[in-house]
Structures are given as C-alpha cells and as structure tokens.
C-alpha cells in the first residue's frame, strides 16, 4: 500500500470536502461579527441562527437550547462547572463514572478542590455502569449526574434511556458527554431525558475548534468564559461562524448518511474483530455488541501499546493505544483498568477506529500486518 491507512477516526477525522466547501464563503465574503448591527453583522447572525436550529433539530432540541463552544472539552467544563456553581445552594454532590474522558475527570478533580464532592461509578467488565449503583448513589444533595454516552476508548454505549429515567425520577440533572456517538447514531434528548449534552464537530468530519453544549430550557447554569455576553451570556467570544457552518454541514451529511455508514462500518468492524481475535493471547475490550459502530479495542498480552502503534505506523497504519489525549501519559488507561484488566493488559491495548472512507482492502492490509508486528514485539519481550 502506498497510501497511509488511517484507523484513528476516534482521535479526529478529516474534514469532509462538502463541509469545507460550505465553510469557504464565511472566511472573507461573509465574515461579519454576529454582534454587529450592520448588514455584515446581521448576515452573520442569520447564518448562526440557522446553523443553531439545524443542529438543535437533529437532537430533538429547541434552537435556544444549544450553546456553541470551542469543543467538547469546553462543553464538558461548562456543563460541570456551570451547573455546579449555579446549583451549589441545592447541594455539592456530583456523580460521574470511572471511565470518563479527561475533560470530565480533570474538571471533577478541580471541582473537588473547590468544595464539591464527586462519586465515581464503577463499570462492569464490558464498561457498563450498574443502574442500581447509580440509583443508590444519588443523594438529596446530588445536583448533577454526568455519564459518558459512548466511551472514547472502548466504544461501550451506556443504557442512556434507563439512566435518563432514573435521573428524571430522582429529579437530578443528567449531563452526558456524547462526543463519540454524536453523528454516528441518532439521539433524541427528550426521549432520553438528557438535560445537558456535550458534542463537537471534529469527531464526525467537521472542523476542529467547534463544539456545543445542549442545555435543556430551565436548567440553571452559569458561564465559564466571561465577556461580551455572546450565546445568551453563557459563552462569550466573537462567534466562529465559519466553524459553526462546518459543524452544521457535518450534521447535514450525518442526517443523510449516518444510517448507511453505521451498517457499513459495523460490518467491517465485526470482520476486523473476528480476524484479530485469531491472534493468540488477544482479547477484545469493551462490550461485544453495545459498542460504537466504528470502534474496536484489543489487548495483546506480553507487549506494550506504544511500541505496537509505532511499528504499525512504520508500516503505514495509524492507530492509537487509547485516547489520543493520554498518549504522552505513562499511566495505563484508566478505562481499561476500570474494566478489571491487569496492568499489563491495559498497557498492551490497541484502539482501531474506522471511518467513512475505510475500505475492506485497508482492513485486510491491516490484518495482514498486525500478526507480524505483534509477533516481533513478543520476540523482544521477556514475558511469555
């Protein structure tokens, strides 16, 4: 293969050409500031409004329930800190899980330093939380439950409907980080009783640096970035119109192609899993069926993930050990440890995430190379 094979769509995706095309007019033709009174400003504002309602509609939300941000990290920070500070008179207890993205976990750590108490729900071997544990953990002073919808490393999809019902019955706000699932599977915030939801654009063929937070009408929340009062005062800064247009166009494409992509990718992914598991001492991490259509995560005993990724890279294949964010980190994946994996299994993990453009030929090439590379590293290893 001459072309590289990109199998790290969970880290980030290329911008779809149609998305870039849609963005082009908003750099210097329609470049206005949405806050300006004049025509350039009004045009920008109208564009913003239409993108907002387009994306909101896709979620079953109202236009005014969507706040644009710089990405999922900021949305997570806004959801947690914003709700925590705005509701601290009702209690200072927050519930999340042990398998959240760093954007949630580090924010929770910060909140703990600022007087909040956080409970971390454990997960079973497949990465699912225990609904009973959730019920029992909710207290009188619990103000927020935040649960990752589909995990970024192992792809496990939570039982969001049941979670939503529990939170609704207990009258506590439910936030979910839906970054990995948004644009891949349909979501209706009302059917699921979700109060706040984090999404971004660059995980489904939109541009980087753009995200949003869905905030159900009536949820009390305060801003994290203070300033000129944009986004109904919840997120100040000159609005990145071209980025939001790209986000909205990515949604348009998802509306039309999501179903088809899901079927195609699930099939490819299942084939991939089946073949990879033929390698001795390999295992699949995450849930066998309740998982993102594009995610596979493996552990190979006796070898370490970074080496594996770099040797695959040498052969023109791009994967990751876990989340891209934790790459320079020395600790093994907190997600895999939470599943009950031993440290060596957690160190030896490989995340393969496919995308719109992934072909069977690419997967076959990968399947051809992988056993080789695993074998080579095992030869170097003192472990047997």
């Amino acid at each position: 293969m001459n072309k590289r094979i990109y199998l790290d769509y969970a880290a980030t995706t290329p911008v779809d050409k149609r998305v870039l095309d849609a963005m082009q007019p908003y750099f210097y033709e329609n470049f206005g500031n949405t806050m300006s009174l004049h025509e350039e400003g009004r045009k920008a504002k109208a564009t913003l409004d239409s993108c907002r309602s387009n994306i909101a509609e896709f979620l079953g939300a109202k236009s005014e329930e969507l706040v644009f941000t710089s990405g999922a990290t900021e949305s997570d920070n806004l959801a947690l800190k914003g709700v925590a500070f705005a509701n601290q008179n009702n209690g200072k207890h927050i519930i999340t899980t042990k398998i959240e993205h760093a954007a949630i976990l580090k924010t929770c750590e910060w909140l703990e330093k600022h007087g909040f108490e956080v409970s971390y729900l454990s997960v079973d071997q497949f990465g699912l939380i225990d609904l009973e544990e959730l019920k029992n953990t909710i207290r009188k002073d619990t103000i927020l439950v935040s649960i990752i919808y589909a995990n970024n490393e192992i792809g496990t999809i939570q039982n969001m409907k049941e979670i939503g019902e529990i939170c609704k019955n207990k009258e506590v706000y439910l936030h979910t980080d839906a970054t990995q699932i948004f644009g891949k599977l349909p979501i209706d915030v009302n059917k699921l009783n979700i109060d706040l939801m984090t999404i971004n654009a660059h995980k489904f063929y939109g541009p980087k640096g753009v995200g949003a937070l869905y905030i159900r009408k009536g949820v009390s929340i305060e801003p994290v970035l203070h300033g000129g009062g944009h986004e109904s005062g919840l997120r100040s800064t000159t609005v990145n119109v071209s980025g939001i247009v790209g986000f909205s166009e990515a949604v348009n494409i998802a509306k039309n192609e999501m179903k088809e992509d899901e079927i195609k990718q699930t099939k490819l992914r299942n084939y991939l899993i089946e073949e990879v598991l033929k390698i001795s001492n390999s295992r699949l991490n995450g849930h066998p069926t309740r998982r993102l259509p594009n995610n596979a995560n493996f552990s190979f005993s006796f070898i370490e993930g970074e080496s594996l990724v770099l040797l695959l890279d040498d052969r023109g294949i791009s994967c990751s050990t876990g989340s891209a964010c934790s790459s320079p980190n020395l600790e093994p994946s907190h997600v895999l440890l939470s599943l009950g994996l031993k440290h060596d299994q957690a160190h030896g993990s490989l995340r393969v995430s496919i995308g719109k453009d992934t072909t069977k030929a690419e997967i076959d090439y990968f399947l051809n190379v992988l056993p080789d590379v695993v074998e080579r590293l095992r030869k170097l290893s003192p472990l047997r």
Binding site: F302, I303, E304, E306, S307, L310, L311, D314, P328, L330, P332, L337, K342, H343, D344, H347, K379, L380, S381, P382, L383
Partner: protein, 157 residues
C-alpha cells in the same frame, strides 16, 4: 516526539534475545509501570587479562524508548571492560541516542539499572566481593522497585 536515532534503534534493535548460559542477568522495571527489561551478560577476559563484557543481550517489554535504550546499551557496553561497565551512566545512553523526550528519560535509567543488576548478579553468582558502587546502586534499585510495587498495589485495590 522521538528523534530518528531512537526510532532507528526501536525499529531495528541490536542484540535482542536471550543468552543461553549467561554469567549474569539483570531484571528491572515492572509490568505495572509498563516497562520491564532483562539484560543478559557473558563475561570473559581480554588479552590484558581484564574482565570484559563479551556478549550482552536484552529482552524488553515496553515503549519505543524502552526498546531503543535497551538496544543501544548493548552496543555501548559490548566489549567494554567490566570496570568501565560498572561506571556506566544513563547519560551515555541519552547522548548516544541524541536525546530523549523528558518523560522518557526514565527508560535510560532503567537500562543502566538493568546493566547494574546483571553485573551484581554476576558477582553474586561468582561469590566474589561485590564492588561498593554496584551494591549501592543495587540497593537503590531494589528500594525503588518495592516502592513502585506498593504504590501500584494500592492503586489497584
């Protein structure tokens, strides 16, 4: 994040594998941390009658830096006198590799430690008096290892 030299050693490591009947074996690091190194050495004498490291091989479980530092330490030490090898410092590895990322410096320490442990093992097996420099390092390494184990055991609970 890695330079060409590191990547080259990682891609094509030198002297990997086991020595059948080694004179000393050093094993350092642990799976929990993600790096485990095993160095095998074979000792003989040169024409001057000095002890030399005749052969050295490694087996390593770990990241690219762990593999590269393992590979290069075998190059750097092979053929050296035992006396010279006892003075070996991880800086030589870093220099020979043309630098390592800050967070990977510990891999070079690990490799130097593995050498120390292999030499310690050689002296122990031969029941000769163990030079002070080797014993001191050995004690530090054992201590560290215990601390790490403790730390991670607690984390796993």
């Amino acid at each position: 994040m890695y330079n060409e030299k590191v990547i080259e050693h990682f891609r094509h490591p030198h002297n990997f594998g086991e020595i059948e009947d080694p004179d000393g074996v050093g094993e350092v690091g642990n799976i929990v941390c993600g790096d485990l190194m095993k160095l095998y050495i074979k000792i003989s004498e040169n024409e001057k009658g000095e002890k030399i490291i005749k052969d050295i091989k490694f087996q390593t479980y770990g990241c690219a830096a762990a593999l590269a530092t393992s590979s290069i330490i075998t190059d750097l030490v092979k053929g050296k006198t035992l006396n010279a090898a006892m003075e070996f410092s991880n800086k030589e590895i870093i220099d020979a590799l043309g630098g390592l990322p800050q967070i990977k410096i510990h891999c070079s320490i690990l490799a130097a430690d593995a050498l120390n442990e292999a030499i310690y093992d050689y002296f122990t097996k031969n029941k000769t008096e163990i030079p002070k420099i080797i014993t001191l390092k050995h004690e530090r390494i054992t201590k560290m290892n215990e601390l790490m184990k403790e730390k991670f055991q607690n984390q796993n609970e």
